[in-house]
């Protein structure tokens, strides 16, 4: 099991943070373009899923998977979106994504008054804590790919 990469978006679609661990193949487009495509896809899938829902939707879109990877999605009522790509062996990780939001983003970025919101996170502390947290996850394995 392994973690490929992670995106953090705000409510306006700004990519606040991106990091990757075991990503062997790149998309072949500029990163900015990739963030936009990713956000656009999430935005569409979100509204589509809620339109098509046959019953009242609660949390909405949670994850999708292909034959090779799985995309996990977590969104707060304020529109902060945490997206993590892992391989197929990883089960539901809502609590992990929630922790990235509440324990790392809110604690180290939102509560730091000198950290401006709505733009790429510059905080070195946030980056290193996030990296350490992801590396400590039970399904993070250095040798898998």
């Amino acid at each position: 099991m392994t973690v490929h990469n992670l995106y953090l978006f705000d409510r306006d679609g700004v990519c606040l943070h991106y990091s990757e661990w075991h990503r062997k193949k790149q998309a072949g487009i500029p990163k900015e373009e990739e963030y936009k495509l990713m956000y656009g896809m999430l935005f569409s899938i979100r509204s589509f899923v809620s339109k098509m829902s046959p019953v009242d939707m609660k949390d909405g879109f949670l994850a999708f998977q292909t034959s090779r990877y799985k995309l996990h999605y977590y969104e707060t009522p304020t529109g902060v979106k945490v997206v993590m790509n892992t391989d197929l062996g990883v089960g539901p990780i809502r609590d992990v994504l929630h922790h990235i939001y509440s324990g790392l983003y809110v604690e180290l970025v939102v509560k730091n008054p000198l950290c401006p919101l709505g733009q790429t996170v510059q905080s070195e502390l946030f980056r290193s804590r996030l990296d350490a947290y992801v590396r400590s996850l039970p399904f993070f394995s250095a040798r898998a790919g």
Binding site: R11, V14, G40, T78, V80, S102, K111, P113
Partner: protein, 196 residues
């Protein structure tokens, strides 16, 4: 307190960075008096910096707004409250969870408008005004206006545009403090420009 006040005049900016009190969990031990006095020092400084009360009210609202847009994230991270289904639920969450969490009080919710888009929060005691008496020359100062800004900013981040104002204030001789909240509209999220 004199030291606080001195520092305030050296760098007024500092006030923007004072932490909003979080009497929950880890910070439960913070003295509420220190908070009340700090808020008082802030309002006092604003009164010195601005000529008339309307400008001070406006600044307080603006500062509250800036606190609110960040505080909502902390609130969601801490409380595990999900999206509200209607304005009544929102009112409940504000009064019973948010006020309790941040100010240690639970206002009562009353005076619903027939359409259900307007209600009042009645604050039996407002911790911000513990030591305050309004002098005659500040009769139109809305001392606790920061709270309106906080509520407005926080709700805007969860896609609700609201109008918040004080309609009664114990500082002005009313029996209770009453904050009136009116729902304006849902803010729909739009796809950022330049994307299809």
């Amino acid at each position: 307190m004199s030291r606080q006040a001195n520092r305030g005049t050296e760098s007024k900016k500092m006030y923007w960075y004072l932490p909003f009190p979080l009497p929950s969990a880890s910070l439960r031990l913070m003295s509420s008096e220190l908070f009340t006095l700090t808020y008082g020092a802030l309002v006092t400084q604003l009164c010195k910096d601005y000529e008339n009360d309307e400008d001070v009210n406006k600044q307080l609202d603006k500062m509250g707004y800036n606190i609110g847009v960040r505080l909502i994230e902390d609130f969601l991270a801490r409380s595990n409250v999900g999206r509200c289904h209607d304005f009544r639920e929102t009112a409940d969450v504000i009064a019973k969870v948010a006020f309790k969490m941040y100010l240690g009080i639970t206002p009562s919710i009353t005076n619903w408008s027939p359409a259900g888009d307007e209600f009042s929060l009645i604050l039996e005691n407002n911790p911000l005004v513990d030591f305050v008496e309004l002098p005659d020359n500040h009769s139109s100062l809305i001392y606790s206006n920061l709270l309106c800004g906080v509520l407005r900013g926080a709700l805007e981040m969860v896609q609700m545009a609201v109008d918040v104002k004080f309609v009664q204030d114990t500082l002005k001789g009313d029996g209770v403090t009453e904050i009136r909240m009116r729902f304006i509209k849902r803010i729909e999220d739009n796809l950022p420009a330049g994307e299809e």
